[in-house]
């Protein structure tokens, strides 16, 4: 090997030999192929979802218009008809859970980000950041267990025991709260990154004008980092929409057009899981329906991620 190498360089002096040039080219090609493969994954996702979604809408029992506007989702009924394939209850359930999650996670996540970026000492950051990372790394099925074994009983006690409201065992509130906890780390860390990217000079200018630390954080740093923070919110809500296991466990599987978080709802993801356990045969209407629902989910999250990515890019352009 060694001898061959030195012989080669002697032979070719400064120029590369034909062999090694070909090898360099081949290696570069392999690496490029791996990178281009990531585009194929996206294409694969779209083609997979489309392949069965098209079959689904080609059926006489389904109509695209009724699918997008219908308010009843009963695909497992014995007599399928377009009236039973309205996606809105699933979208509504998904948004209800994501809404509850956002109500918890947006203020708490933003508060955490402000504290970490503007107040916390280096020592405290070194404790809190890993805790947030652990919180983000806990599997979703564990959060589902936590929801059903810990949060749901508390909700029952508070709303049913103290306030006399009817609470279903599976409810959107419990699922939403637990999803909110799951996305707090994401909001906190992305927002904090945005806030730390705000130049020090802006803060010092405000301090010199006599602002308190809180005023600097709220009136100077937060507005300056706003697009980064907004990107974090969108990204986190998109994550909440795609969350599956915790929601399947805690929110139940009753498609419900409701704004009442104490009722059971079914999300887009929970429906897909429900059908997958039912062992629907390939090509059947049930099997195809999960692709239509998956397509809806993919489009929703894809658009949100794209917006968040664009907003974040704009933000980076301002400060870098």
């Amino acid at each position: 090997m060694q001898a061959k190498k030195s012989g080669q360089s002697e032979h070719s002096k400064l120029l590369l030999s034909e062999d090694s040039r070909r090898r360099e080219g081949l290696i570069a090609f392999i690496f490029k192929a791996a990178a281009v493969l990531t585009i194929l994954v996206t294409i694969g996702i779209i083609v997979s979802l489309l392949s069965e979604t098209i079959g689904f809408f080609a059926r006489p029992e389904v109509s695209l218009w009724k699918f997008l506007t219908g308010t009843r989702w009963q695909p497992l009924s014995s007599k399928p008809s377009p009236e039973n394939f309205g996606i809105l209850p699933l979208v509504g359930g998904t948004l209800l859970v994501a809404g509850v999650a956002a109500l918890l996670a947006v203020p708490v996540g933003l508060g955490t980000a402000i504290f970490l970026s503007e107040y916390a000492t280096e020592k405290l950051r070194k404790i809190i950041k890993p805790v947030l990372e652990i919180l983000a790394g806990v599997p979703s099925v564990v959060y589902g267990f936590f929801a059903i074994s810990f949060i749901t009983p508390i909700i029952k006690t508070v709303f049913e025991g103290w306030l006399g409201l009817k609470v279903m065992y599976f409810n959107a509130l419990s699922a939403g709260l637990v999803v909110g906890i799951m996305i707090i780390p994401m909001i906190a860390s992305v927002s904090e990154d945005a806030m730390r990217a705000v130049p020090r000079s802006l803060r010092e200018g405000a301090f010199a004008l006599g602002a308190t630390r809180f005023e600097v954080a709220i009136k100077v740093v937060t507005p300056a980092a706003l697009s980064g923070i907004v990107a974090a919110f969108i990204l986190a809500i998109s994550r909440a929409i795609g969350e599956t296991m915790a929601v399947s466990i805690a929110a139940g599987s009753t498609p419900n057009m409701t704004l009442n978080p104490l009722k059971s709802v079914q999300t887009l993801t929970a429906f897909i899981v429900q059908v997958s356990f039912g062992d629907a045969a390939a090509g059947s209407i049930n099997s195809q329906s999960i692709y239509a629902v998956g397509m809806t989910l993919f489009v929703m999250t894809f658009v949100m991620n794209l917006i968040s990515d664009l907003v974040l890019r704009k933000f980076r352009e301002v400060y870098e």
């Binding site: 360089s9 360099e24 570069a28 690496f31 490029k32 791996a34 990178a35 281009v36 493969l37 990531t38 585009i39 994954v41 996206t42 694969g44 997979s48 979802l49 392949s51 069965e52 708490v108 996540g109 508060g111 955490t112 504290f115 809190i128 805790v131 947030l132 652990i134 919180l135 790394g137 806990v138 599997p139 099925v141 564990v142 959060y143 267990f145 936590f146 074994s149 810990f150 707090i184 780390p185 308190t212 809180f214 005023e215 709220i218 990204l235 929409i241 795609g242 296991m245 466990i249 993801t269 897909i272 899981v273 997958s276 999960i290 692709y291 998956g294 993919f298 894809f302 991620n305 990515d309």
Partner: protein, 334 residues
């Protein structure tokens, strides 16, 4: 003009009240930050209280049974381990190669830009969608090899029915190298699905590790006459290896905890034996735990589920510890 701005800005010249407000808000912000720690603690306490008493050799040695006290998760533990190892095997070369291209080769072009945006987007695709990708592409292969499909009829292919049915043949005529088309509800289909799911994470973390190698090292290698690949192989990869490895182990942790994609892909709720080869059916720890959570008896949906979660979290903790250990042990400081 300036007076007007001053008046409308709601500037409060009472310093005491402003500072009081600042102190109150500082407490609120601290409370927000501590909420994460509080929830994590509550969650762990809840799980340990419910499950610690059910940790026993039975849990590790037995499989699911009708009798809670005889129930275990043996096949799920092994299924998870096999699945994660196979996932890493598929994902590692692909992810690292893509990262090397993007950091060392890629020109500033529209294609590069598109690949970057695409990877960011893939990282945000819900995991359940990857499950549907895996089911369609690996599990069913678009139905190309289903009985009576146009392809099968045209070539008169000998397809079989069954869990991993379809077309079965020996690759290159070697007896051990059996290939099934499609991959069906098998371990290998699950691992391929998972490897696509963690691919964006692996690429992003590998790129960070490669980027951390100083440019001077690269220039020195070029200066000594190395080609680009020689420079990467002898300088960049050895130095960035700990970082790449850490990223992969953390991504494997994510794959270990994922449930939804494997359920969609067709992993089984209950498998009473260990997978003997990559074409066997399998179940994993999170699926087993989900299964127990959905059963009506409290022995299952509280105690065994919590005990299973303890095992899962311990494995995850072990993997994170390994990642941190490797990073500290092997990391090159500049």
């Amino acid at each position: 003009m300036s007076e007007k701005v001053f008046a409308s800005s709601a500037f409060n010249d009472n310093l005491d009240s402003r500072q009081r407000k600042a102190r109150i808000w500082q407490t609120i912000l601290l409370a927000c930050t501590l909420l994460g720690i509080l929830v994590l603690t509550m969650m762990l306490v809840d799980i340990i209280v419910d499950g610690a008493g059910w940790l026993s050799p039975t849990l590790f040695n037995n499989n699911h049974s009708r009798f809670p006290e005889k129930t275990g998760m043996n096949s799920a533990i092994y299924g998870s381990i096999y699945n994660v190892l196979l996932t890493a095997l598929f994902c590692f070369p692909l992810g690292v190669a893509a990262a090397i291209y993007l950091e060392e080769y890629a020109p500033k072009s529209k294609l590069t830009n598109f690949i970057n945006i695409n990877i960011n987007n893939l990282a945000g695709v819900p995991s359940i969608v990857y499950g549907m990708l895996g089911l369609t592409v690996f599990g069913r292969m678009f139905g190309l090899f289903a009985p009576e499909s146009p392809l099968v009829n045209f070539f008169n292919l000998p397809v079989e029915a069954g869990n991993v049915g379809g077309l079965k043949f020996n690759l290159f005529g070697i007896p051990g190298l059996i290939i099934h088309l499609p991959f069906g509800r098998s371990l290998v289909a699950g691992a391929m699905t998972m490897s696509l799911l963690i691919l964006p994470t692996v690429i992003i973390s590998s790129r960070e590790a490669i980027r951390a190698v100083p440019t001077s090292i690269r220039e020195a290698a070029y200066g000594l006459g190395a080609t680009r690949w020689q420079m990467i192989r002898t300088q960049v990869l050895p130095v960035s290896f700990p970082g790449i490895l850490t990223g992969i182990i953390l991504a494997m942790g994510r794959a270990l905890g994922e449930t939804a994609p494997l359920i969609i892909m067709g992993a089984f709720m209950y498998v009473p034996f260990l997978p003997r080869n990559i074409w066997d059916k399998f179940t994993t720890m999170p699926i087993q735990i989900y299964n127990w959570i959905t059963l009506p008896q409290p022995e299952y949906n509280i105690h065994l589920a919590a005990a299973g979660i303890i095992v899962l979290l311990l494995v995850l903790l072990g993997m994170s510890a390994l990642a941190i250990f490797l990073r500290n042990k092997l990391q090159v400081k500049w």
